[in-house]
């Protein structure tokens, strides 16, 4: 059972992206792509945490509705990324909550044109599985079952801890491709709202 600890990725904030887009809509030439694609719908539900053998494990289900633009992008060869961002904070009365731990569960979905199979790779574990359809592949990554998120020993008893999770869907390319152009092509990318729960060790 493995889980990774990392810092939240330093990507442009939502506000910055939209600020640039607004500016570009005003200034850009007629050939510039307009942000017109429908956004993906992401919604987390059935979020539950249980203590199993001294480890907190997370169950969650994601309602994922990938728009046609996203499907076209993945079918064209781009990689669909689904990241579950999980953060455990310690509540403080007079200050902002302190972050105790954070982790990210990352999946990639690719279309293998030669085999006409949909490959799902768990980037945390390196496991790869293939599916005959995109829907089955998405169904595979839309469910978290028994995901270990934190060793209970790391949470001293007393304070109240609050966990939160959200899902972020976007695209990536191969390193040698025009990754920076995704800024223009992933208008449908989205992120879900945070779902929270309380831990009382």
């Amino acid at each position: 059972m493995r889980y990774s600890r990392f810092v939240v990725a330093s990507k442009p904030s939502f506000l910055a992206r939209w600020a640039v887009r607004v500016l570009l809509c005003v200034i850009a030439t007629a050939g510039a792509p307009a942000a017109s694609a429908a956004e993906a719908r992401l919604g987390l539900r059935d979020v539950a945490v249980r203590l199993d053998d001294g480890v907190y494990e997370l169950d969650a289900r994601l309602d994922l509705d990938l728009p046609a633009a996203g499907r076209r992008a993945v079918e064209s060869g781009l990689t669909l990324r689904l990241n579950y961002e999980i953060v455990i904070d310690r509540e403080r009365r007079y200050m902002l909550d302190a972050e105790v731990a954070s982790l990210e569960q990352r999946y990639e979905v690719n279309y293998h044109a030669l085999s006409q199979r949909w490959l799902v790779r768990n980037l945390n574990t390196g496991e790869q599985s293939d599916f005959g359809s995109l829907e089955t592949a998405l169904a595979r990554i839309s469910e978290l079952r028994g995901l270990p998120i934190l060793d209970a020993a790391l949470l001293p008893p007393g304070p109240v801890y609050r966990g939160r999770i959200r899902a972020v869907l976007d695209l990536s390319t191969a390193p040698d491709a025009f990754g920076w152009l995704l800024f223009w092509a992933d208008d449908w990318s989205a992120e879900s709202d945070w779902k929270t729960w309380t831990l009382r060790p």
């Binding site: 850009a28 064209s76 496991e127 025009f178 223009w184």
Partner: protein, 746 residues
């Protein structure tokens, strides 16, 4: 460091920082476009910074252009030149940039499209199909192998499954064979050499398809590269109540074939990604190019304005400096902003202003010195008793001193700038005569001369000594003339009086002494000879002769006494004299004498006159002489009248007592009227001709003046002004009076 220098330094630093940021932003954009992973994340920010820079540039440019338009409309100096330069620089920068932009966009668009042409896409599709076909052959073969295994298992049902399965696996060359129920429960497994002895569960997808009665075969790409072929078929026909079995086989794909397939797949995927991003790529490149173009274009225009401003600023400074200098501000100093030709021009301008300032300072000092000299000269001229008139070359009066006005009897000082010929208001006046005489000398061609003029001013004769000197001018032509003149009438009279005084003293000395012996001798002759003479005729002749001698001697004695009196040095004994009383006393003496000759004498006295400071004896002699003169003038006329008037009057700032003696006799002869106060000038049959001369002498001794003239209705009039001194002062007050005796008019 002064404020403008600080401002320039701050501006330069700001522009430098701005320029570096701009260059950095463009370089970042270029790096981004080169697919740098590091800059990919920053792409939105870099783009936003560039757009923000663009907005800043637009704002700056708009501000500058608005300022330029305001300057143009306001006709600010240099604005038109600046606008022309901005226009030329801007157009020169814009045209090539737009040209390059147009072709760059064309090249970009067509170049990117050429990367994704139909042939490449079709080739990749064909390669994919070909690879897929090659693998499908293997898949069909392995599916057939799986069917064979299933048939063998169905035939051999009931035998030892593991051994059979291992045998079949070896036979078909599978990596793994699994016999499981259609619900996924594994019954038997045969696996080749592998680290992982735990078999993977049969995927639901496989179970589902096989349960539907269809064999399953798929090509599964492996994480570490290469492929596996998964097959699944049903094992025989199961009886009712008997579990249905399936067999799943995992077959390897030849390494060479798998590598080739991976290559095709990778190329297809990469092409697909790039093809999908083709439009964003074009748009991004064009947008980047457009942003760079706009930044360059706006920077070029801003640079054009900045350069034009830098070029025009010295010219504006020069024009403003020239205007300031034209308005007399020589403290102007232009800032030296460069060391090129324009800087040399500014330096020369500053040097010129410096020299002008120095010259003006020297001129001001010289002018000040000249003004001081002129003021001194004016004071000297004002205090001079000699008249000085300077003339322009065209005969207009340049300057005149107070003495000139007093001598000529006209206010010449106020006639500066007028024609010299018209300085006298009275055509027959002294000033006009003087001007005409001078003009005659000039008309004769004389520019430097000295002349004595004699003029008739009213009834008086005036003698002026005048000298003319040309003033230095340009070249040989004189710059003007200066006339220096003096009234020498008094001086000549004084000379004459001195001469006559000398004559009188000699007469008194040479003649008076022998007169007494002559008279005594005549009386002795008469006394000795008369008794001895018998003849009455001789007696009568002797008496008549001696009587004549005695009478003539007496007459000569009187004449000599008169001479002596005239020549006598003045020894005045000044005291307060009741003038009206003295006039009354003297008049009374002559009233009786005149009554015998039919002459009436009237006295008009001013009661406001209390007393005058004078020598009473000399004053009485003065009145006697005047009245004697008048009585003698009326002698033989039968009827006549004499009028004596005293009056208090003002002569300038001085209060005087006027004594006027008038008669209705024949008056003064016109030819001698100017010389009636000279000794021995008389028109009477008898008299010494010294009466009026003595009168004038007495008047002058008292600081007064005397005029003689003929009355309009006939007769003579002699008018005397005596200064009315304070009677409380002593006899020396005469010399302290402010009265300035007027020039003789007689």
């Amino acid at each position: 460091m002064d404020a403008p220098t600080l401002k320039r330094a701050a501006s330069a630093v700001t522009m430098g920082i701005g320029g570096l940021l701009w260059l950095a932003a463009i370089l970042f954009m270029a790096q981004t476009a080169q697919n740098s992973e590091q800059f990919s994340r920053l792409h939105p920010w870099i783009l936003m910074i560039n757009i923000a820079g663009l907005a800043v540039l637009v704002g700056l440019l708009a501000t500058k252009l608005a300022q330029l338009i305001r300057d143009w409309r306001g006709h600010v100096i240099g604005s038109r030149l600046k606008a022309r330069m901005v226009w030329i620089f801007g157009v020169l920068a814009t045209l090539p940039i737009l040209l390059v932009y147009f072709f760059a966009v064309q090249f970009l668009s067509k170049g990117i499209d050429s990367w994704f042409n139909v042939e490449i896409r079709r080739s990749l599709d064909d390669a994919l199909v070909l690879s897929r076909s090659a693998l499908e052959v293997r898949m069909r073969e392995h599916l057939a192998d799986s069917a064979l295994v299933a048939d063998e298992l169905a035939l051999m049902r009931g035998t030892t499954m593991p051994g059979l399965l291992e045998s079949l696996r070896r036979q078909v060359g599978a990596l793994e064979l699994i016999v499981a129920t259609d619900t996924g429960s594994i019954i038997a497994v045969s696996k080749g050499l592998s680290d992982d002895f735990v078999p993977e569960a049969v995927p639901d997808e496989v179970l589902l398809q096989v349960r539907q009665g269809q064999p399953f075969v798929s090509l599964e790409p492996q994480q570490e590269g290469g492929y596996l072929i998964r097959t699944a078929v049903r094992v025989g026909v199961s009886l009712p109540g008997e579990e249905r079995l399936i067999v799943q086989g995992i077959f390897p794909v030849a390494e060479r074939l798998g590598a080739l397939a991976d290559t095709v797949q990778a190329a297809y995927k990469q092409f697909g990604e790039k093809d999908y991003l083709r439009q964003p790529l074009k748009a991004s490149f064009i947008l980047t190019l457009t942003v760079v173009l706009l930044l360059s274009l706006l920077a070029a225009w801003y640079g054009a304005i900045f350069t034009a401003q830098r070029l025009v600023q010295p010219i504006q400074d020069l024009v403003q400096g020239t205007r300031a200098v034209a308005q007399g501000d020589l403290d102007t100093k232009l800032p030296l902003t460069s060391h090129d030709e324009m800087g040399f021009l500014v330096h020369s301008f500053n040097d010129m202003i410096k020299r002008l300032r120095r010259a003006r300072e020297e001129s001001r000092r010289a002018q000040q010195a000249a003004e001081t000299e002129r003021a001194n000269l004016a004071v000297i001229l004002a205090r001079l008793s000699t008249g000085v008139i300077s003339l322009e070359r065209d005969w207009r009066v340049r300057t005149a001193n107070r003495a000139a006005s007093m001598i000529l009897g006209e206010d010449i000082e106020s006639r500066v700038g007028t024609e010299f010929d018209t300085i006298g208001a009275d055509p027959g006046g002294l000033a006009r005569q003087f001007a005409e005489s001078c003009r005659q000398r000039f008309s004769a061609g004389a520019t430097e001369w000295r002349e004595q003029f004699a003029f008739m001013a009213g009834m008086s004769r005036r003698i002026l000594m005048c000298a003319c000197t040309p003033l230095p001018g340009e070249g040989d032509a004189p710059g003007g003339y200066v006339l220096v003149f003096d009234d020498i009438t008094v001086m000549l009279q004084a000379q004459r009086e001195a001469a006559w005084g000398e004559v009188a003293r000699r007469l008194a000395h040479e003649i008076k002494n022998p007169l007494t012996p002559i008279r005594l001798s005549a009386e002795r002759l008469r006394h000795k000879l008369l008794p001895a003479m018998a003849d009455p005729k001789d007696v009568q002749m002797l008496e008549r002769a001696t009587e004549t001698i005695v009478q003539q001697v007496e007459a000569m004695k009187e004449m000599v006494n008169a001479f002596s009196e005239y020549a006598r040095a003045p020894r005045l004994e000044m005291s307060a004299v009741d003038l009206n009383r003295m006039v009354t006393e003297v008049s009374d003496l002559y009233r009786a004498q005149g009554a015998m000759r039919g002459v009436k004498l009237r006295v008009h006295l001013d009661p406001a006159i209390d007393s005058v400071v004078a020598d009473p004896g000399r004053l009485r002699q003065l009145l006697n002489n005047l009245l004697t003169n008048s009585v003698e003038a009326l002698e033989g006329q039968g009827q006549g009248s004499i009028s004596v008037t005293t009056q208090r009057a003002m002569r300038g700032d001085t209060e005087v007592v006027e004594i006027a003696v008038e008669d209705d006799g024949p008056g003064f002869q016109r030819e001698v009227i100017g010389q009636v106060f000279d000794p021995y000038v008389t028109t009477k049959a008898k008299g010494t001709g010294l009466g009026l001369a003595i009168v004038r002498k007495i008047v002058e001794e008292h600081g007064g003046h005397v005029e003689a003239d003929n009355r309009a209705g006939g007769g003579a009039r002699v008018c005397i002004d005596l200064p009315l001194h304070d009677t409380g002062t002593d006899s020396n007050a005469r010399g302290r009076g402010s009265y300035e005796p007027r020039r003789e008019r007689a």
